[in-house]
């Protein structure tokens, strides 16, 4: 059974009454442990697709199955619960809560999930050690570089043991070296812990590392390469 399956996914936004077809029938399957990159020109629907998979938004038509469960019909609260339990997000920037330290940011989602204080402390520390960011524990986001912030965001995504981690252009705001470090880290997580990753990116160095590449054009899958 695939971890993720979309069936004829369509999303139509309305831009001041004018319909914008962001997705026009996307059917993909992503297996557990895949390291997938969604590429494509700007406006092709990459973010929209990630948002559907990530239960942030509901499709206009079609279905999304996560671990076999149809998530297209869930309400706002149920979607929130699902995101909390099964999905880790890394956005392009400003992922972290500014008033919390790195450690507290990582603990935050576990707190939402009801993990007891002692355990979440241990798990957050363990994740930071593994990702070599333990020295950032006490720093607030504004005391960290963009790359460090993204690493903390990955740690936060990983620590709740999600089914899948979605990263929307995680390297877009980083220089290529920092971006490469971040990718190294995510690759390691993928290889050693079999965590499923899906990226969206224009960044050639991200695309190079993809073990599966989906290319979107005008809201449709134009290419699916392994």
């Amino acid at each position: 059974m695939s971890t993720i399956r979309t069936v004829d996914l369509e999303k139509t936004y309305s831009d001041n009454g004018v319909p914008v077809h962001a997705l026009r029938g996307v059917s993909i399957e992503v297996e557990e442990g895949e390291f997938t990159v969604i590429a494509g020109p700007s406006g092709s629907g990459k973010t929209t697709l990630l948002n559907m998979i990530g239960a942030l938004d509901t499709p206009t038509r079609g279905k999304v199955f996560l671990d076999g469960e149809d998530i297209s019909e869930l309400n706002r609260n149920e979607l929130g619960e699902l995101r909390l339990k099964k999905i880790g997000f890394v956005f392009q920037a400003y992922n972290l809560i500014p008033v919390l330290s790195a450690l507290e940011n990582i603990e935050f989602t576990m707190m939402l999930a009801g993990v007891p204080e002692k355990e979440r402390h241990e798990r957050a520390f363990a994740a930071m050690e593994k990702l070599h960011i333990a020295e950032l524990a006490k720093k607030r986001p504004n005391e960290m570089s963009g790359g460090q912030q993204q690493r903390v965001a990955v740690a936060r995504a990983v620590v709740n043991n999600p089914t899948i981690i979605l990263a929307d252009e995680p390297t877009a705001n980083l220089d290529s070296e920092t971006g490469a470090d971040l990718l190294d880290m995510m690759e390691t997580m993928n290889r050693e812990h079999n965590i499923t990753f899906i990226f969206s990116s224009h960044d050639p160095q991200v695309i190079d590392r993809a073990r599966r590449l989906l290319i979107l054009k005008d809201g449709k899958i134009a290419e699916d390469r392994r």
């Binding site: 942030l56 929130g80 999905i87 008033v99 919390l100 507290e104 989602t109 707190m111 999930a113 936060r156």
Partner: protein, 404 residues
């Protein structure tokens, strides 16, 4: 953790939060001082009235309070005093004969209320003896009178001077007698001092052909709060030939003023509460709108609406509680010196004298008013945060994340 988060969020824009805090603090200090002063003032007025003449409970022949004529008198005082002696919450009582009349000196005359009292008894229930400015109190001898300072001034008499009192006696004739001024007193109320003269009980009974009748028994209790319950017990024992009136019924205007002032406090609370609501709406709304992107991330990582809503309310609540703590402490610090030294209103004391208050007001802070003041700001803060919190949870996570 949510608490920590909310607390830190408050201080992200510290200037804005401090402004809200200051408005809460100033409001609270104003509430505490206003409430304690007005309560202190009314209680002082009440205390002065009770202490100078009214006492806690009065017993008369039925109808006397509405129509203070000497025909409404108590023929058998013993029946009453026997009942009083068996009630142990009563500290002291004083038997009085009261009559309106005219007091004249060589130069002037004035209408007064003549009170015939047993000096030992009366000195136990009122402060007239302690309020003497000149001379001495009644000894019980005939032809002695103690009058108020304002009356002495009006009649242009001093210690040792003679005055003549006239009043209609029980059988309708004019009774009169000559008195020598032995003492001049001054209470907090110039009105009181202008009309009250005290003579020996038997002296007045004789002058009015009263026999052994009296007009009233004035009762001082151990504890003023028992006035109504003791009065109702006495009423039962004495039957309906007599009226037994606690001070609440004797001073209805003052007692009403306590209520009015309580209601005025609620208006005050409402004003401060509404000001607080708008301050909080403004502050929290700005703070929510500044954090749209962040709320988007919070929602994306799975923070539920209810939690987000609570977080915004919690921020307002913490702000309110902080303001309350500081406001109460500062308010109390302002109140303490006033409560011990009193607030000196000597500049206005002519007007206050007419009202029956002293020149110095001692504010009174009751636990009830502290509790009220402590609740007001946090409650209205939370109310004010509801709309901003609704705005926060109405955000769509996707557009919120894209928001810059």
């Amino acid at each position: 953790m949510l608490l920590k988060l909310a607390w830190r969020n408050i201080w992200r824009n510290s200037r804005r939060s401090i402004l809200v805090l200051i408005s809460a603090i100033v409001g609270l200090i104003a509430i505490l001082l206003y409430e304690s002063l007005s309560m202190g003032m009314i209680h002082q007025m009440l205390g002065n009235q009770i202490g100078s003449h009214v006492t806690h409970i009065q017993i008369h022949k039925n109808g006397f309070n509405d129509n203070k004529i000497i025909q409404n008198n108590i023929a058998d005082a013993q029946e009453i005093t026997a009942a009083l002696d068996s009630e142990n919450r009563i500290k002291h009582y004083s038997e009085r004969v009261l009559s309106y009349g005219i007091l004249s000196s060589a130069s002037s005359a004035s209408g007064i209320l003549l009170a015939g009292v047993v000096p030992d008894q009366e000195a136990q229930v009122t402060i007239i003896k302690q309020s003497l400015e000149e001379g001495r109190y009644l000894s019980g001898e005939k032809h002695e009178i103690v009058i108020g300072q304002k009356l002495a001034e009006k009649l242009e008499v001093g210690l040792g001077d003679k005055v003549v009192a006239m009043a209609s006696s029980l059988d309708g004739d004019i009774g009169s007698d000559v008195f020598r001024v032995v003492g001049i007193y001054r209470t907090f109320s110039s009105d009181f001092d202008r009309v009250h003269g005290f003579v020996a009980l038997e002296n007045l009974q004789e002058m009015l052909d009263f026999g052994t009748r009296i007009s009233e028994v004035a009762i001082l209790l151990e504890n003023a709060n028992a006035s109504q319950s003791v009065a109702s017990i006495l009423k039962e024992t004495l039957g309906d030939r007599y009226e037994v009136l606690p001070y609440q019924e004797l001073l209805p205007l003052l007692v009403m003023q306590v209520d009015v002032s309580r209601q005025a406090m609620f208006v005050f609370y409402a004003i401060i509460g509404i000001a607080m609501i708008f301050g909080i709406i403004n502050t929290m709304l700005m703070s929510v709108l500044e954090r749209i992107q962040e709320f988007g991330v919070l929602m994306a990582v799975g923070m539920k609406n209810r939690r987000l809503f609570n977080m915004v309310l919690l921020e307002a609540l913490l702000l309110g509680i902080t303001g309350t703590i500081i406001g109460l402490i500062l308010g109390y610090l302002c109140y303490l010196p006033l409560a011990t030294n009193g607030m000196d209103l000597r500049n206005f004391s002519d007007g206050l004298g007419a009202l029956g208050i002293g020149a110095i007001i001692y504010p009174e802070l009751t636990p009830q008013s502290v509790v009220n003041a402590a609740l007001i700001v946090p409650i209205f803060s939370v109310l004010g945060a509801i709309y901003p919190a609704i705005r926060a949870v109405r955000l769509n996570p996707i557009s919120a994340i894209r928001h810059v």
